[in-house]
């Protein structure tokens, strides 16, 4: 069993003391300084809390306090969040691409089924009284310039 004896010297305005650790089991000899230092380093926390002090208010000369390392989470949190966002984005892209391909196939399928009067492109067929205009004789009518298609308005220079 070890016992600690204190000798307090009020040299400065700060409370300071030095102490000697003896091992009563081994003939009351002093424990070597290096062992004491190692023990203090390991148990600094307990010694501090015994005095209700902190590393800043209780200083051991020659034993510089080690700082507690920042808490490292076991799993890198950022990778988890990254993984979640990545999966969502890739799922979104696949969804849009697949639905786009399906729409495209459906459109092709539909336009293959319709009759000869319609083109495969999406231009609406202009009709006059239910008869498509390209059958009618357009020369008899007047082309109204206001309704010219976009391309014709912008003649290249």
């Amino acid at each position: 069993m070890t016992s600690i004896s204190f000798s307090v010297r009020l040299e400065e305005e700060r409370v300071s003391f030095w102490f000697v650790v003896t091992d009563s089991a081994r003939n009351v000899t002093t424990v070597p300084g290096s062992e004491v230092e190692a023990a203090i380093r390991m148990n600094r926390n307990r010694i501090n809390s015994a005095f209700l002090l902190t590393d800043n208010t209780l200083q051991f000369l020659k034993i510089s306090s080690t700082l507690s390392p920042p808490i490292e989470p076991t799993v890198p949190v950022w990778l988890v969040v990254f993984g979640v966002v990545l999966c969502l984005v890739v799922a979104g892209i696949l969804l849009l691409v697949v639905s786009g391909i399906r729409q495209y196939k459906k459109k092709n399928h539909e336009s293959a089924e319709t009759g000869d009067l319609e083109d495969n492109s999406n231009t609406p067929v202009t009709t006059e009284n239910g008869i498509p205009c390209d059958i009618l004789d357009l020369k008899a009518g007047q082309i109204n310039g206001v309704y010219a298609a976009d391309d014709e308005r912008l003649t290249p220079l």
């Binding site: 400065e12 990545l86 892209i93 849009l96 786009g100 912008l154």
Partner: protein
């Protein structure tokens, strides 16, 4: 006959797309800096004058041209004159350069966002050195936020020649950023139109939350006073006016072809005049709003650092001179220092190098712009707030929205001419073209994730889009006014909107804006030739 051109679902989508594009990172990280450097509240005077002389007219011009010709930038200028198709190609090339490096900023925002879910925030504390007796050397010399930015995020090498390896974490974030952009532009205006509702409005919500939080922070008032006290003598400095003109010019994103692309998806009778005014006013007010938030945060950070500095000095003096606890306070520090100098001259002289002179003005004066402001200064302020994780997440989501909104415009500027071209659109569906563009940009962007990547980023930021844009917009204005003809343009506007443009627009288009751009161009060119580097005025504008 070809498919009808895709249109915006409603005019609001168009407005939101333009706002989302124009309101970008430059509003948050460039304007507050300019305000501080060039006269505080007084800077608003040249800012608004330039808005009226060049901002609104040039914005209206680009929107009207795009809406009328209904094509991307290459097609538009080819239609005006076949000799001018080079202007369109220049716009596309500049947009390509911009999208290459701009998305790296989004990658950084993602990185910080993902790291915000930890308690404490990873940039709040320095890591320890190897034997745990103190902090890591690099970190102790600077600060934990700077360490996190330069070492953990960028892992920056000491010079541009030392390439180093690709930082895989950044590369992965960059790939994610490009996937997000691809998701938004995949279906063209159909998907972009929905996304811009979020990217345009969310930043305002976050800025509002930050405004409330910022104004209630301790010391915020110091920052606001410092910023808004007008220093009217700066108005005599020509650099003030040049910076105001440059900021308006680049903040609106003119010359990239994005505005032309967005407007080309409009209904032909959309009132783009009204929207041009609305968009430019919203852009400028957002800059002012963001700088109020930024300066309250500055004030908080500066006050916090100042008080920390003071308490460190007090602790040092108390320890060395064995004074009572509480004998030294912030108020009596100066008088006590004089007393100590006179009573213990030798000891004080030894101590002198360690005693820092704490000054609030010095802390406020550290005007920062660009990535330094966004990622170092803001994160330093955030780590000192309560519930810092929440504010951090909000802030980086806001940066992401701003960045992605601008990227949507950039990619639209590249993709619209490509999908307009008959050759490409008959052979490849637009999803594949978008995918190829995103893929190429992503691969090239991996350069910026190397250890020397930030130096390359600075080069691109300074030179890629700056002088060339001035030239492009100058040629655009001259082309529309003099080659196409102002009268013909007037008639086109009459057809589209139902009324002719009034004399203000015509004078600005024909005289004021070209003259202003020419003078800006001459100034920057001569400055570049004289000093050998491009004026830092132009950087970080976008």
């Amino acid at each position: 006959m070809e498919k009808p051109r895709p249109l915006w679902g409603n005019p609001l989508q168009f407005v939101f797309a333009c706002i989302s594009y124009a309101v970008g990172l430059g509003n948050v990280w460039r304007f507050p800096y300019l305000c501080q450097m060039y006269g505080g509240g007084g800077f608003l005077i040249p800012y608004f004058i330039m808005l009226i002389i060049e901002g609104m007219p040039l914005l209206y011009l680009e929107l009207a041209v795009g809406q009328h010709m209904r094509q991307g930038s290459i097609g538009v200028w080819k239609t005006i004159s076949p000799y001018l198709s080079g202007v369109g190609i220049a716009s596309v090339v500049v947009s390509f350069f911009l999208s290459m490096y701009y998305n790296v900023i989004n990658a950084w925002s993602f990185w910080y966002l993902f790291h915000s879910f930890q308690d404490p925030l990873p940039w709040a504390n320095c890591p320890l050195n190897s034997n745990h007796t103190g902090y890591d050397e690099e970190c102790a010399k600077t600060s934990s936020t700077q360490y996190f930015w330069y070492r953990k995020t960028l892992n920056i090498s000491s010079s541009i020649e030392e390439y180093g390896s690709i930082h895989w974490e950044q590369a992965v974030c960059l790939i994610l950023a490009w996937l997000v952009v691809y998701l938004c532009i995949l279906r063209g205006t159909e998907s972009t139109g929905k996304v811009v509702y979020v990217t345009a409005s969310l930043p305002y919500l976050v800025l509002f939350i930050y405004l409330i939080r910022g104004l209630t922070l301790h010391g915020a008032v110091n920052g606001l006073i410092y910023m808004f006290t007008p220093k009217l003598e700066q108005l005599a400095n020509p650099k003030t006016w040049i910076n105001a003109a440059t900021q308006i010019f680049f903040s609106l994103g003119l010359g990239f072809g994005s505005l032309i692309a967005f407007a080309s998806y409009n209904e032909p009778n959309n009132n783009c005049e009204r929207y041009a005014i609305i968009i430019s006013l919203i852009n400028s007010s957002t800059s002012i709003f963001a700088s109020i938030v930024t300066f309250s945060i500055y004030g908080f950070k500066a006050t916090f650092n100042y008080e920390n500095c003071l308490s460190k000095v007090i602790l040092l003096l108390t320890n060395v001179f064995d004074l009572e606890e509480g004998a030294l306070t912030a108020d009596n520090l100066d008088s006590m220092k004089d007393y100590l100098i006179s009573t213990y001259p030798n000891q004080y002289a030894e101590l002198l190098p360690q005693i820092k002179n704490c000054s609030l003005e010095a802390e406020l004066d550290t005007a920062v712009q660009g990535t330094g402001l966004a990622f170092i200064v803001y994160s330093e302020a955030i780590k000192n707030m309560e519930v810092s994780q929440l504010y951090s997440v909000l802030y980086f989501i806001m940066l992401l929205m701003l960045g992605i909104g601008s990227m949507l415009g950039n990619t639209a500027a590249i993709l619209t001419p490509l999908t307009d071209s008959k050759f490409l659109s008959t052979h490849l569906p637009k999803e594949v073209i978008s995918g190829i563009v995103c893929f190429i940009n992503c691969i090239v962007g991996l350069v910026f994730t190397m250890e020397a990547g930030n130096y390359w980023f600075d080069i691109f930021n300074d030179y890629a889009a700056t002088l060339s844009l001035l030239l492009i917009v100058l040629v655009e204005t001259i082309a529309v006014c003099y080659i196409y003809g102002l009268r013909k343009f007037e008639k086109d506007l009459l057809l589209m909107l139902g009324h002719k443009p009034n004399w203000y627009w015509k004078i600005m288009w024909a005289f004021a804006s070209p003259v202003l751009i020419i003078s800006l161009f001459i100034f920057y060119l001569t400055d570049y030739i004289r000093t050998g580097t491009l004026d830092t005025t132009l950087r970080d504008q976008l």
